[in-house]
């Protein structure tokens, strides 16, 4: 009987540990990739990143966050009528935007400021490196 009680206690403790570790994992923010890319998901990402950076809109590639969890964002390469870059000597640092997952939630996150916006429809998977 004592052994059974001990085993029950052990099980309960282990379960507790496990669930506590799971909770911690769920609380942790991890780098992620998009689970099912589509045009709708791309549009949601574009809108979220634009909002994050105070832009009306911006172009994010259809395959963004499908292989890597980060993208760099730069000023549009404005050109003259002759096809030359207006500013061909750029000293601005590009911005880094990460895709992160926390629990079941998925966010685009500005690596510099930590600001983030949740993607309501896109599904994310933890990045496995």
């Amino acid at each position: 009987m004592r052994i059974k009680l001990f085993l029950a206690y052990l099980m309960a403790t282990l379960c507790g540990c496990s669930s506590s570790a799971q909770d911690k994992l769920l609380d942790q923010e991890v780098l992620a990739v998009i689970a099912k890319p589509s045009r709708q998901v791309n549009e949601e990402i574009q809108a979220a990143v634009a909002s994050l950076l105070g832009q009306k809109e911006l172009v994010i590639a259809a395959n963004a966050f499908t292989k890597d969890s980060s993208i760099s964002v730069e000023r549009l390469a404005h050109q003259t009528v002759n096809g030359q870059l207006i500013n061909g000597r750029v000293t601005e640092q590009p911005l880094l935007i990460n895709l992160v997952k926390k629990g079941k939630q998925c966010f685009v996150k500005n690596a510099l400021t930590g600001g983030k916006i949740e993607l309501k429809h896109a599904k994310c998977l933890k990045l496995i490196e």
């Binding site: 045009r39 061909g88 000597r89």
Partner: protein
Amino acid sequence: MKRISNKLFSAIVAAGVLTLSACGGSSSTLSNTTKKEDVVWQAGTFINDSLLDNLCIGNLNGSALKEKLWLRSWSNDTYLWYNEIDDQDPASFSVSNYFTELKTNALTPSGKLKDQFHFSMSTEEWNLLNQSGASLGFGINYHFQQKDESLNIDREITVSYTDPETPASVENINRGAIIIAVDGVNVAIADDSDSIDTINNGLFPQTQGQEVVLTLQDLGEAETREVTLIAENVVSTPVQNVKTIDTDNGKVGYLQFNSHIATAEKGLVDAVTTLEGEGITDLVLDLRYNGGGLLDLASQLGYMIVGEATADKTFEKLTFNDKYPTTDPVTGRALVPSPFHNQTLGFNAGLLAAGQDLPTLNLTRLFVLTTANTCSASESLMNSLRGIDIEVIQIGETTCGKPYGFYPTPNCGTTYFSVQFKGENNQGFGDYADGFIPSQTPSFESEVQGCVVEDDYSNALGDEAEAMLAAALVYSADETRTCPEVSAGKRAFRPFIPNISDSAFILEDKRPQSVFFNNRIVTTKH
């Protein structure tokens, strides 16, 4: 905030608000006390431009005159050739017209305008951002040939290259393919605005999912084929086509470097690592479509090509006008030469973290393939390597000639680009406003040992038969430094684009410009 420098950009974005476009919101210290009429133009006298910041037309204390006087004072303070500006009374000019007057009209030794880089655009447009290399389209980079009836030249659109994993690559569209028709409109004979609109809309889509039917004549094919492309948000691959070519004199590496964008850092590191592993003894760097971008990437690439010979050497030193011999007038910092970077900078830290040692090829010479599209940071790379006595051999056409730069500066909703500095190499050379000119007998510093060769659309980039690469391979193998014969019509210097005489017949990308769509074609109705 007197001026907003490039360096501040990240911090501004970090604040979550792109305040660069702010006009009426910010005000100078005198804005509350400066009345609308209390400034006048007086020849040779300049008000401190910070006192005129954002005193805009329509503001309580602003006026067109104050905007113009701000431009005048700012130019007088920071323009590289401020003492070549004709100090004109602004009264008879609009603000934008007055800005166009605030530049030198001096000519380069070859006779072109020394300052061809004087621009302005709305700050809202200037502040637009995109994912590095991303744009809406098909992944095709076009070459437009102008129609010139006097020379019996037809209008022609040729594919100069495509990017992998794009609609174009899926449809096996390759360099050299000629676009005969767009949505049924024949490119060569289109001669009315509806036809031109159809071509423009087809080549430069406005929405994802937009379809275009291209009639193509692939390289070497007599027959045409039709492909339907669906526009999507594609991303360019700035470093492509990395390969090693076995020659009698050793292995020659080749890489196509199209743009100094953030993702190129990893591309270049991977390419150089591969070529280092192959044990190459020469490198052909294809910069023919590289108009520049992140200057630090050029510095890193310089190190990766040369290695330790760059140690303690200047990659580039900025020089401003003679009012600022030792300090940067915009940042206020002391002028310090920038080095060749020997570590990663983490432009996209998710792909490649900062602080890692860069690979190096330890070469003592470099072949560069160039056209008039080779510009800015690409020219800076050439100049910096020449500055440390690395032999740079130029194959192709004269580069664009832009040793200059500026801090884009906003005022009253417009961002102004006025040349403020020149980049000089380790030997203090930066005078290549006429471009770097390939020559078998160079006699000026801006002439570079090499060969004049036209861009060859009849072969793939990286193909040993492609004219520029072929010339580099011959040159590298031959101690007599032989160049291919240049036909009478082929010259080292080719102007970019003829003047546009009829805007109704321009094929152009009217969207905010991106690296995919870097040309336009003009036609005049005859």
